[in-house]
Symmetry: C2
Subunit: 177 residues, 2 copies
């Protein structure tokens, strides 16, 4: 199951998981996002076997989240630098930190997101960039987009990009049978 | 590696992964967030083996993200309903959808987040609830919080909750050696 590929799935969550859906991959990204680039440093932080780390780094390079670059010629040494796509994963990691702090940190947060100038703690919330509204139910929901397969259109109410029609409410899934 | 527990780790990302750090768990949550509650429905959507689904659902119940409730007495049948903690994971899944749409959907998005009233697509961005500022570098960064261990304080610049002092810049990790 761990080696099953979700690449063929159309769902964006499955596509994300295909790239980063392993504990180690997400922890590697977490460290890359705080500036770690070198194999030894990843290994020291994660306490991960050499072969496992090599495989995970290679997968993240293939998935387009990290770029492998030579930083020294003799002997040749490589570092792993975040691509724009990898850098952009920061919002997912930070969402995860915020969620974890709310629910699994009874002793107080061990990591916080701060404004580096003022030192003030940020309170992360996902909003719509266009309106500033927090993205929460019931106002917002996931809908099938224009590239949705038939299966996804059955699971999510479809809405084409062009039309301005309101969403068609589908029956709750547990009413189907 | 898949069975290794990150529970003892203090990092909030590791703690999240301890609860949801398996592909199936995140896909189960994705479906729960669109209203799926019943075993058969999860199984039909995911094409997952019965034993695997049972184990993943049990783990999510133990982790406090789902609650198992009887919805029928004879024969007794159960459904799996999101707890407040599980419901709150929506922001992480939606962040993942937005990231995936930006980078892995060349044919256009198959899922979008929409305002259900107007049908307008949302453009999800993580901001600070207090200021409305987008949470991005270089203005914002992760810092060690008050409950941080010695290890985390070495890895992240520490800032106590009370003091108003600016962050102490640490050397970039790859300069350490």
């Amino acid at each position: 199951m761990q080696n099953k590929s979700f690449k063929s799935m159309q769902c964006p969550v499955a596509r994300s998981l295909d790239r980063v859906g392993e504990w180690w991959s997400i922890l590697i990204l977490r460290d890359a996002l705080r500036g770690v680039t070198r194999f030894d440093e990843f290994q020291k932080n994660l306490g991960i076997a050499t072969a496992t780390l090599t495989r995970r780094l290679d997968n993240l390079v293939k998935a387009g989240l990290l770029e492998r670059r030579a930083y020294q010629e003799r002997p040749q040494r490589f570092e792993y630098v975040l691509t724009a796509c990898g850098e952009d994963f920061r919002a997912v990691i930070w969402s995860m930190i915020a969620w974890s702090n709310r629910h699994f940190a009874p002793e107080g947060p061990s990591l916080v997101i701060v404004d580096k100038q003022s030192g003030a703690w940020a309170d992360p919330v996902l909003v719509d960039r266009n309106t500033g509204n927090p993205l929460a139910k019931p106002q917002y929901d996931v809908a099938a987009g224009p590239a949705a397969s038939e299966t996804l259109r059955l699971r999510y109410p479809f809405r084409s990009e062009a039309s301005g029609t309101a969403l068609i409410e589908r029956p709750a899934p547990n009413q189907e049978q």
